[in-house]
Symmetry: C2
Subunit: 305 residues, 2 copies
């Protein structure tokens, strides 16, 4: 791997009740120079934690390896109970491009991390989403169907359930890691000034991919009774294909047809700079916008070369 | 000066016909480590050049000193002719805050640069805009009234025209430098889908500060006959006080009253990142936006500490 580009990594671990274990995993991630931990969340009911971190490609792979090692030492799936399905101690490991990093680079990183997880830790690996090697493994839910216990059983008799790297049987306590590459997911909600949830549900239906709306949009209509509002709650899984502001304008247009206005929108978690720049340029109708027109970006690009 | 923050500097030199001289000045600016030249433009009729550069405070002051030295060695105002008024070889030297740099820091830099220009080069200095020490010198036009020849004469008899630092007489060939601090100026135009220039003129009148509109807005209505459009051409001299998107929305509203739509808007030159983020957050009605929600900004702030 000759290039070294900015990448986000969002590993999910099957431990959400013991902060000491999650602390040890986070410390392993942080122990790599150049890796930046951005966010951490644990859920006791799910018995699951997510640690979001970023860095250059070489750093994030090394952090993932160290995290996988600690997770495999500290988590035994035979003793793990939680409401969220899981296959591994380190359960899911997606690599996500940031800045101008191409998705192909993250696919390479996923394959490299998967190979090393098997070779160095003896834990088999399934590859999903953009890193999948088989079309039926693009979907994470499909790969994890039956979860640890069921897949452990299936690999005894069904070659179609064998891991993509290593195996064919699961690791006895750490299961398997589902490694992938995907685009940045923007969690974005728009709140409407009405209490009629049917309006939010109709808008969600009209914009989401699964009902024939925009590509790369998941959407639900929800009620926010304590605020007297309704919400169109969205995941934008490819903001370059369907930008935030295009969704905003369409929700505004559809709401207006019912005489309803947008109260506000909200971002859950983080957003790539490019999505924000696309929104500003799009909504201001800036016909000649380029990121280089932002003075700080220009300075950084000159300083970095 | 204990801090060292990101600053832009936009020196104007009284030479626009001899590229070798401007090359020598630009080389002097670039010779300081950490200074980044962003843009350069020369005008033969004005006989004047503008070099836009940026860097940390210490670097930009050092670059300004080196540029002032070369300009004073290579430019003789007694031989200089051009349609633009000028007082010095290095004529105007504004320091402009970038990122989160406070304007007060640029005022300190302006005073430091002014002191050094006098002490090291023997060229007297007038202080203008936010760096002015006398209210009547806030306006650059007012400071430069009479330009080199007239002010040279005036300082022989009128103490009210004495420089703020050094003097009281001008440098015999390099004149004086007008050093200041000001906020970032955004040059921004909105083109309207009509050929009726009276609509653009009425909108410009309604939004500009001088006619009682928004603060920190200069605006003109112009015709773009070759495109069949009219333009509201603006300088936004404090985008935090009157943001780009507020101007955009008001122009859209006023144009709609005449049944006219916005065709597009355009940015002349560069724009600070904050102005773009404010526009995106404002137009998307993002109620909880903070620059830290941009993943690249978060990573940079963690990496820099």
């Amino acid at each position: 791997m000759t290039r070294n580009l900015l990448v986000e990594c969002v590993p999910n671990f099957s431990e959400g009740r013991s902060p000491e274990v999650v602390d040890a995993i986070e410390a392993a991630i942080r122990s790599v120079h150049g890796t930046v931990v951005l966010h951490r969340t644990s859920d006791a009911d799910h018995n699951r934690s997510v640690i979001t971190y970023a860095g250059l490609g070489n750093s994030v792979v090394e952090s993932a390896l160290r995290a996988a090692r600690i997770a495999s030492e500290r988590i035994n799936l035979n003793d793990h109970r939680g409401v969220h399905p899981r296959l591994g101690a380190l359960d899911v490991l997606p690599f996500v491009p940031l800045s101008d990093t191409p998705l192909d680079y993250c696919i390479e990183l996923a394959h490299e991390a998967g190979r090393r997880i098997w070779e160095e830790l003896g834990i088999p690996v399934y590859l999903y989403e953009a890193a999948a090697r088989k079309p039926e493994r693009v979907s994470l839910e499909h790969v994890r169907r039956g979860e640890f216990e069921g897949i452990n059983e299936a690999t005894r008799s069904d070659p179609s359930r064998y891991p993509d790297i290593g195996g064919p049987h699961l690791h006895p306590t750490a299961g398997a890691v589902i490694v992938g590459a995907r685009k940045f997911l923007i969690a974005y909600n728009i709140n409407l000034r009405t209490e009629d949830v049917s309006i939010a549900k109709a808008i969600a239906r009209s914009i989401r991919t699964s009902s024939g709306g925009f590509p790369a949009v998941k959407a639900l209509g929800l009620s926010l009774p304590s605020r007297g509002l309704v919400q169109v709650s969205m995941n934008l899984t490819d903001f370059e294909q369907t930008p935030v502001h295009i969704v905003f304008l369409e929700v505004m247009r559809l709401a207006a047809q019912s005489g309803v206005e947008i109260e506000e929108s909200e971002l859950i978690g983080l957003m790539p700079r490019k999505a924000l720049e696309m929104a500003a340029a799009g909504l201001l109708k800036l016909h000649d916008f380029h990121p280089d027109r932002v003075i700080e970006t220009r300075i950084e690009s000159v300083l970095i070369g």
